[in-house]
């Protein structure tokens, strides 16, 4: 480690922040990757890895990646649910690594639902 200056302190802090602030519950939104047996068999692991790469390269440290269980629509796996703060959840189906890149670009960064991959807006009512 080399000597740093006061300006470096901000840079180091920002870099480390993107790694750690998810631990503190500071998230703009989260992406649930449905990883039931069906999802994993259909390629959810590749989808997850692609999302991790996207979060890293696009510095999306405020987006939580969460594994979740089967969403109930096994025939359309791999699936993800994108939940941005104060917006209804959006489910995407039949995904691949390339498709999630597109979703990150359009939905997470652009704020527009990537309609061509989307199944529906909203989730089931629970209880």
């Amino acid at each position: 480690m080399a000597r740093i200056t006061a300006q470096d302190l901000d840079r180091i802090g920002e870099e480390a922040k993107s790694r750690i602030h998810l631990r503190q519950g500071i998230a703009r939104g989260r992406i649930l990757v449905h990883m039931g047996t069906c999802g994993i068999a259909a390629g959810a692991r590749a989808v997850m890895m692609a999302l991790i790469r996207e979060v890293e390269t696009r510095h999306l440290g405020d987006i939580a990646l969460v594994t979740s269980s089967c969403a109930g629509l096994c025939s359309r796996e791999p699936m993800i649910t994108v939940e941005l703060k104060d917006q209804p959840p959006v489910k995407y189906v039949n995904l691949t690594a390339d498709k999630v890149k597109d979703i990150v670009e359009k939905h997470i960064l652009g704020g527009e639902i990537a309609a061509e991959h989307a199944l529906s807006v909203g989730s089931e009512r629970v209880l």
């Binding site: 480690m1 006061a6 790694r19 602030h21 631990r23 649930l32 994993i40 939580a64």
Partner: protein, 596 residues
């Protein structure tokens, strides 16, 4: 490298001694086995606080709290939670008496009612990585004081915040700094007092283990304020993990130029050395600590001049407690006004307490000053185990006092505790249930103090010995009429004739228990009876023939072979052989063993 999940594994001394290192190996092994090593990061952290439930793992971003973990749980946990996204209910925290577990840390009452300032980074950062401390505003306060504040402004900010010493006496920190700043010398010292010696206290250890940089930053700010360039962390050698972490942290800070010559090229020099104390209780006292660092026998000396004028090596010295120093950077960053809005009129901010004894959630808590003892014991501590009644809480370590149930609604601040005969001390809190004998407790603590007395003052050395003898007599049924009055008189002499605070406060516990539990002392002396059923010489174990189901469990377990009786008939205890170990009472499922 980005990870989707951070597995925050507690690596405090408690958890490590409960096998956290093996759990870490097993967890990392299971993660690799599932090919998740690029997705899941295992982060070692300091104490999460709920120490009694260790080893503890907190999975973020979800905030799932896993507790009482075993090595064999790891493969299942990794498969279910990390691979398939199904948190494992059986490893979550279930409050005593409840059936449903509470999955997330923010919903657990123990954590919900706390407010973290000194412990702000606990469980959130890896203490071995300076970058993670920096990410949470670390060293920002140091830069702020070096670039935009004069030493006078720093002192004023600390004075205005109302911060008082967290080590015991509660002296205003800003005034201490001001006094040291006013005395000119070629060298001045900032000493961090990490010589935590109270039985049952582990606040300082936990802060250092969880967030060592916060102390280093606080020391550097203190150094700038008073014009000191030398810092010493006086830490007991019984804290190997804390020593390792703070030494590593100091080296990282040095590498970054945050300690050493010309810090961040801003023209301020400050560096820290670690001094390991051999663990004598008296070394926590300022003049004894000074003697210890100077290579002399650790004995207190009369304080004709303040240490802030002539302290270590006759140079102006500021001695601050770990918790005090850890709080300083937050006050600089957030301002005195914000800090002084927390707490009571005379006691500002928060205080860290270690909860120990007969309490469900034994562990480490940080709460705003002015909170009641009841909130700490019942809301956060979860009450007394086994539905027993609360009897007393001892605050302030061996120098503090015991407060009975009538004080449960007392607000916890420096003045209120002192008025009730106890003290804040460094924040040890030992909770006692109805089965505790107060005479026995007094004897235990006087024995500790007698052992730790440095022996310089006759009043403390011989006074405590005599007091121990009289308390032992009471416990053994040899107490005499007039002993209690003599103990009180002796206490007065120890208070006025001892040189240091440790001697002066030594009789506190005996005096408060005499004040609030005098009946119990009198029962020991006048009636030769121990109402709590603890003092062996005063009790007899008997088996109630009505309740005994003749299961013979006690008969088999008695180490003395003192229990006899025919099969299928009630058993009896031969009193001559009985050593009153209590095994029969513990194993009896029918509560047939009674103590009189």
């Amino acid at each position: 490298m980005a990870y989707r999940t951070n597995a925050m594994l507690c690596m405090c001394t408690n958890c490590v001694s409960n096998g956290a290192l093996r759990i870490k190996d097993s967890l990392e092994g299971a993660i690799r086995e599932r090919g998740l090593e690029n997705e899941i990061q295992v982060v070692p952290t300091g104490a999460s606080g709920l120490c009694v439930r260790g080893p503890i793992l907190i999975v973020q971003p979800e905030g799932i709290f896993y507790q009482s973990l075993k090595v064999e749980d790891m493969p299942h946990l990794v498969e279910e939670h990390f691979l398939k996204g199904r948190p494992v209910k059986s490893l979550m925290y279930t409050p005593p008496g409840e059936k449903a577990p509470i999955p997330t840390i923010r919903d657990i009452p123990f954590f919900k009612s706390q407010r973290l300032i000194a412990l702000r980074n606990r469980g959130l950062i890896d203490p071995s990585r300076i970058d993670e401390y920096i990410a949470n505003d670390g060293y920002k306060a140091l830069v702020k004081v070096l670039t935009s504040m004069t030493p006078e402004q720093v002192i004023k900010e600390i004075k205005d915040s109302g911060l008082r010493g967290r080590g015991g006496a509660g002296f205003p920190t800003g005034r201490k700094w001001e006094s040291a700043a006013a005395h000119h010398a070629d060298v001045k010292f900032i000493i961090c007092n990490a010589d935590e010696g109270d039985p049952g206290a582990f606040m300082d250890r936990s802060i250092i283990e969880a967030d060592p940089h916060s102390i280093l930053e606080g020391m550097a700010i203190a150094g700038y304020a008073v014009g000191a360039s030398r810092g010493i962390v006086y830490i007991r050698t019984e804290y190997p993990l804390a020593i390792e972490r703070i030494a590593a942290a100091a080296q990282q800070a040095r590498d970054y130029g945050l300690l050493g010559k010309n810090i961040l090229d801003l023209g301020f020099d400050f560096d820290v050395t670690i001094f390991r104390g051999a663990g004598a209780f008296v070394c926590g006292e300022s003049s004894s600590m000074r003697a210890s660092i100077q290579g002399e026998p650790p004995e207190p000396s009369a304080k004709h001049t303040h240490a802030t004028e002539k302290g270590l090596w006759e140079k102006p010295t500021v001695l601050n407690n770990v918790e005090t120093l850890a709080t300083v950077p937050v006050i600089i960053n957030w301002g005195a006004k914000w800090f002084s809005s927390i707490g009571t009129e005379t006691s500002k901010g928060t205080k860290v307490f270690s909860l120990a004894g007969n309490v469900v959630n034994a562990g480490l808590v940080e709460v705003p000053m002015g909170i009641t003892l009841r909130e700490i014991v019942y809301d956060i501590g979860g009450g007394i185990p086994g539905n027993k009644a609360f009897k007393a809480v001892q605050t302030g370590g061996p120098s503090g006092g015991c407060l009975p149930a009538q004080y449960l609604d007392l607000p916890v601040d420096y003045e209120s505790l002192e008025k009730a005969g106890s003290m804040m001390g460094s924040g040890g809190m030992v909770i006692m249930d109805e089965d505790t004998c107060m005479v026995d407790v007094s004897r235990y603590f006087v024995d500790f103090l007698r052992d730790e007395s440095c022996g310089k003052c006759t009043s403390c050395r011989d006074g405590l010995d005599t007091m121990f003898l009289m308390l032992s007599n009471a416990c053994e049924g040899k107490g005499k009429e007039g002993d209690l009055e003599l103990i009180e008189e002796l206490s007065g002499a120890i208070q006025v004739a001892s040189l240091c605070q440790l001697g002066q406060t030594a009789p506190n516990l005996v005096l408060t228990t005499l004040r609030y539990f005098r009946d119990e002392y009198q029962a020991h002396i006048a009636d030769r009876r121990c109402p709590a059923g603890v003092c062996k010489a005063l009790i007899t174990f008997r088996i109630d023939p009505e309740r005994c189901k003749a299961c013979l469990l006690c008969n088999k377990r008695c180490p003395q072979g003192a229990i006899s009786g025919e099969k299928k008939k009630p058993q009896t205890i031969e009193q001559e052989k009985c050593i009153k170990c209590g095994v029969c009472r513990d194993v009896c499922k029918f509560e047939a063993v009674t103590v009189q």
